[in-house]
């Protein structure tokens, strides 16, 4: 019980003081230079299956524990993770679809995006190196 409380407290604190430093990244060979929030949302919510260049999209989420996932959805659609999970519950349990593949951390996101032409993910700006292309900066208003 104490553990739950500590975890909740930590989560609350990280939420309260977090500033978004996330960027959305794609493979340099994807043919995509830029995307807006709406397009990125459509891909992560499973409504659009292709990148604007026509390549099949492979969205990559991060594990909830990294905190980046909650930040990403709050920033991009102003939804909490419970709401995003509710949305996916509707699709999973009616056999309509499944949520994006999930990486353990930003290093794994970088690894997948740099090796897959259609992959799209989000990482802290500091983690985004030359292997990927930044197509949307979520810290910019």
């Amino acid at each position: 019980m104490k553990r739950i409380f500590l975890i909740s407290l930590t989560l609350l604190c990280t939420q309260a003081f977090a500033t978004t430093d996330l960027v959305v990244v794609v493979n340099p060979g994807s043919g995509v230079e830029k995307m807006n929030r709406d397009d990125v949302t459509s891909i992560f919510m499973g409504r659009t299956k292709k990148l604007p260049s026509g390549v099949n999209a492979l969205p990559i989420d991060q594990a909830a524990a990294t905190g980046d996932k909650a930040k990403f959805y709050r920033e991009i659609i102003n939804k909490e993770l419970a709401e995003v999970n509710s949305y996916w519950a509707r699709l999973i349990f009616s056999g309509q679809g499944s949520p994006p593949r999930q990486a353990d951390n930003s290093a794994e996101v970088m690894e997948i995006v740099s090796n897959n032409k259609g992959a799209i993910g989000y990482v802290p700006r500091s983690a985004a190196d030359k292997r990927v292309r930044i197509i949307l900066d979520l810290s910019a208003q």
Binding site: T41, A64, N78, E80, R90, S94
Partner: protein, 458 residues
């Protein structure tokens, strides 16, 4: 035992949901595209108290007994479901789902709700073949997944009479990108396997009336056909749908009340041929075999960050007098503050009343209290719903996969009160309202429902 054990099971699964959420520190429980097998599930542990004078409240017409003013009812909203997905290839997926919920036969016998193959040849088309959900309204095929919506349960005035959770058949969907969203056309057809308890199965009520209990309306074998067009983007969902159910079986008559038989006997006994033909027409208008029930519905939902709104309207028609034409609708809005989302819902259903009993009485030249007009009136009211509900509630997102909800519903029913039952009295007899398995013989039509549920996915 049957009633206790599902609750114990649900408590266990609620604990499982909590622990899986804690485990999510190192990895999330959500299924990934890359795994061949995915096991997932959902559940609700819910308690309902009905502050009403002897009425019993149900969530939908498949439930045989409802929540009363005596303590808490755990069976109304509690349920648990398991799903397994097997991804055979990028194009082919197999899905099976089993749900245990309170059912027509008064137990929680698990039921196979989905068992289908999903084939997606390209991003424009997908098809499901096997046991598939009846996607009649927005959210109709995830009614059991409480975690997926804001409310304690889908509005009863709107969803309560939708008796078909699934069918054995196939569907096909075509997706077209339009602007920043996607339009979809979906067509489906299948055979229902559903049974529902009829009012004659309501023991409390039939004890009062002296009618025989234990009658189940068997909808299995009915053909469901329908389709819809919808549009979805990051904020809007709009849908226009139509569905037809072609009934394959007759309304079940209990051992000591054969309504159609009584009307036909009266027709045979009538000296006036006009009376005889009018009574034969009446019997055939009541019959169900080969008759269609149709739903035409529109649904609209808008979400923007913490705001969630939804509305829907349905027009229901049928070729049988037993299922009167009706209109239903609801409007719902909720706004999230941190982890709390308070919400409000207004819903209503209105059946069209028939004056056929008066016509029969006039044709026969007998008072309305005569057995035949009286029983006609009784049958005309069996499918009637005239009520509205105001609901207020709050959803608290306890964890990313666990939500706690409280809801209060103020229900006002204006069906004719079954003051005089056909075997008890003979004046303006009518049946208990369709959505109320038990009501006192002289009911004021008022009930306040208090509910608390814990919804989870795992």
């Amino acid at each position: 035992m049957l009633k206790r054990s599902p609750i114990a099971c649900l408590t266990l699964f609620a604990c499982l949901a909590f622990s899986s959420s804690l485990r999510a520190e190192g990895g999330d429980a959500s299924p990934s595209l890359e795994k061949a097998w995915t096991f997932s599930g959902f559940g609700t542990l819910g308690a309902v108290h009905n502050q009403g004078s002897g009425s019993s409240f149900i969530r939908d017409i498949t439930e045989p007994k409802g929540a009363t003013n005596k303590g808490l009812s755990w069976q109304i909203d509690s349920r648990v479901g398991f799903q397994v997905n097997l991804k055979v290839s990028e194009q082919l997926e197999a899905v099976a789902q089993v749900v245990s919920r309170y059912q027509w036969d008064n137990n929680f016998q698990p039921e196979l709700t989905w068992a289908f193959l999903k084939y997606t040849p390209n991003e424009m088309v997908d098809t499901h073949i096997g046991r598939i959900g009846f996607d009649a309204f927005i959210g109709a095929d995830t009614r059991d997944v409480g975690f997926s919506y804001l409310w304690v349960r889908p509005p009863v005035d709107y969803f309560g009479t939708l008796a078909f959770p699934y069918m054995d058949g196939a569907d096909i969907s075509f997706h077209y990108p339009i602007g920043s969203g996607t339009a979809r056309v979906k067509l489906y057809t299948g055979i229902s396997r559903q049974k529902i308890p009829t009012l004659l199965n309501q023991t409390e009520w039939t004890e009062v009336s002296g009618l025989n209990a234990g009658v189940i309306e068997d909808m299995s074998g009915s053909r469901i056909t329908g389709g819809f067009v919808d549009y979805q983007d990051n904020h809007w969902v709009a849908r226009l749908g139509k569905a037809d159910v072609r009934l394959s079986r007759e309304f079940p008559m209990s051992l000591n009340i054969d309504v159609l038989g009584q009307i036909r006997d009266a027709a045979n006994a009538a000296a006036d041929p006009l009376v005889a033909s009018s009574l034969n027409a009446l019997a055939s208008d009541f019959s169900l075999v080969g008759k269609n029930i149709s739903f035409t519905s529109i649904g609209l939902a808008y979400e923007n960050g913490p705001l969630q709104t939804q509305m829907a309207l349905n027009h229901w028609t049928s070729q049988s007098l037993l299922f009167p034409e009706s209109h239903s609708g609801f409007i719902s809005a909720g706004y999230r503050f941190g982890k709390f989302t308070p919400y409000a819902v207004v819903s209503a259903v209105r059946s069209v009343k028939s004056n056929r009993a008066d016509e029969v009485a006039a044709r026969m030249n007998v008072p309305i209290s005569d057995p035949i007009p009286s029983i006609t009136n009784f049958m005309l009211t069996t499918g009637q719903n005239i009520q509205h509900t105001y609901s207020l509630g709050v959803r608290y997102d306890l964890m990313a996969n666990v939500a706690l909800k409280f809801q209060m519903d103020m229900i006002r029913t204006r069906n004719c009160s079954p003051l005089n039952l056909p075997v008890v009295g003979t004046d303006r007899s009518c049946a208990p309202p369709l959505l109320w398995p038990t009501v006192p013989v002289s009911w004021d039509g008022k009930a306040n429902i208090y509910s608390a549920v814990l919804d989870f996915t795992f």
